[in-house]
Symmetry: C2
Subunit: 339 residues, 2 copies
């Protein structure tokens, strides 16, 4: 690889000892070195093309300047912008993200987390929280720095950054109510996640406050956040002949499944049924028809999550913070007045 020039070499070239070189190269201790020595060391570093070995540093300091980023699925367009947000903050502080994809599988998640901890990450930014999973609280108790993004835990809250799901759902329902819809089908997400629960709660309270039909049959829980589940649930709702004129999905992928189910039945959107999604992922504005959706600030979620993480690094006993980011409604062609 690189011709390994070590701190020893620099020390020799500058005529000082490695301890001094270390001090000179460290932001925090740099001022404890005389200006002249500093100059000689800097020159030696440049001349030799010295680049510090972070492995050795990590071994000594037991910190790795590395943070594990736990994502359910990299190919879900929701997450890449969050990762970008995370990287934008981490880069500026010399931290590197170690990204793992868990495929929504608790087993894989556990394995991935063990691997990350073994690699001595300085903490975790986690987008896969489930409500009744003690894993992260336990880790936090053991001193692992953890920030939840996208979803929160059930019990004691750790640092978290999520979008305001209840409000978001309220925006959709207001919009549909204004269009004149009275019976709205809700395809809720898995209820073992904070987003699944919060969006459903938002649906319920908005339906109530707008005086819409509160028929329990208008609520169906998807088993997963997938297109397939969206199609299955809408199909079976249609099969049951429950009347409704609009459907709001807990996520854009579920809404895509609605498109599929409707296509299969020869139904057209929004003529036969209005459809709204959630998250406003990239490309949702280009679908046929363009999807009305709640826009969540994906990049910002990542960015704020990383900031929270760094803040925690700087001050270990801060109280956990819960950040709720604002959402907005992107109104498009998939929603229209009922016929």
């Amino acid at each position: 690889m690189t011709p390994n020039v070590t701190m020893q070499d620099v020390a020799r070239a500058a005529g000082v000892h490695t301890g001094t070189v270390s001090r000179a190269l460290n932001e925090a201790t740099r001022d404890r070195v005389s200006a002249d020595t500093l100059r000689r060391i800097d020159k030696a570093v440049r001349d030799l093309g010295y680049v510090p070995n972070p492995i050795a540093r990590s071994l000594r300091t037991a910190t790795s300047n590395t943070v594990g980023v736990v994502i359910p699925d990299l190919t879900n367009p929701l997450f890449p912008p969050m990762i970008r947000g995370i990287q934008s903050v981490l880069d500026s502080r010399g931290f590197s993200p170690l990204i793992v994809s868990t495929d929504y599988d608790p087993q894989r998640e556990a394995a991935a987390i063990s691997a990350l901890l073994a690699r001595q990450v300085d903490g975790l930014i986690v987008a896969t929280a489930r409500l009744n999973d003690p894993t992260f609280e336990r880790l936090a108790d053991q001193g692992t720095r953890i920030v939840m993004i996208n979803r929160r835990l059930g019990g004691r809250d750790l640092d978290s950054v999520t979008a305001d799901d209840e409000t978001g759902m309220g925006l959709v329902i207001s919009h549909l109510a204004e269009l004149g819809h009275e019976r709205i089908l809700c395809l809720a997400g898995p209820q073992d996640t904070s987003t699944g629960v919060a969006r459903l709660r938002g649906f319920r309270s908005a339906v109530e406050s707008h005086g819409l039909d509160r028929d329990q049959k208008l609520i169906r829980i998807c088993e997963s956040w997938t297109t397939e589940q969206g199609a299955i649930q809408l199909t079976s709702a249609l099969d049951e002949n429950i009347p409704f004129t609009a459907v709001v999905a807990a996520t854009d992928l579920i809404a895509l499944g609605c498109y599929d189910a409707m296509a299969e039945r020869g139904l057209s959107c929004p003529a036969d049924l209005s459809v709204a999604g959630y998250n406003d992922m990239p490309l949702m504005d280009r679908l046929a028809p363009p999807l009305t959706s709640v826009a969540v600030p994906q990049f910002d979620i990542g960015r704020e999550g990383a900031r929270l993480f760094l803040a925690g690094m700087d001050d270990s006993d801060r109280l956990p913070r819960t950040i709720l980011l604002p959402v907005s409604l992107s109104i498009r062609g998939s929603t229209a007045p009922p016929v």
Copy 2:
């Protein structure tokens, strides 16, 4: 964090020395330890919940079981599936990818690569190659293991996995020719990349072999692989009043730009103009209209790239291999006979 149990602790518990523990825990040297000792060590490991510290291991062995993955843009839907492919292979061998996003910026790329090398990655899987960039050849000469995916280098070829771009472009042109198009506009990609060049070459030779119009004005080079460039280039082609009935874009994003430019002019696709993309990214089948595109095996590109990487790890002086993966054409609503 974790109550740090070290190899020392295991050695003590098993009544042996650390050297023996090390041998026992290493696949390659495990058979040089007696069955009895092995048992005691394994028991101690379990009892104490010992997990090896890869940092210390890396410092000693100068390998990190880590590979840098250099991606231009994580939010480009083309890349996440490749990363999945990479992870699927790396996981099984205990390697971790270190993913960096360069934003198509050579400066950021250089910085990212330095950081990766400093972190002692065992090599690089690179999706950002440019034709006349000596960086990677130089690194390879210095002994860094490198696999190019998605794009290749210009000169001496390193290990690489790409899709068969010339053939792919041929498929599109054949399709359009069969529909009856004779003047096809090509929005080629940047010519400093192998994909940009190969797809344009494929266009030229297919146009020739089908006896279509070879007007040089029907070829325009985009400055970047972006929606914006697609819109700009199509708009200016339309402004110049060059006649054409179809446009083939070097990439789906460029094709999306064509959709935008056409919308702005009130043109409709495919009635006024057929449009074809390249890569067949996720969701392209759901656009309005669904985009005809060349499907490249994104996951497989990543997977084969990672395999090549591991093969190189196992046998340092293999000859570089160039893998060309087959493509197929996804015919959809954006292409139709000219009117």
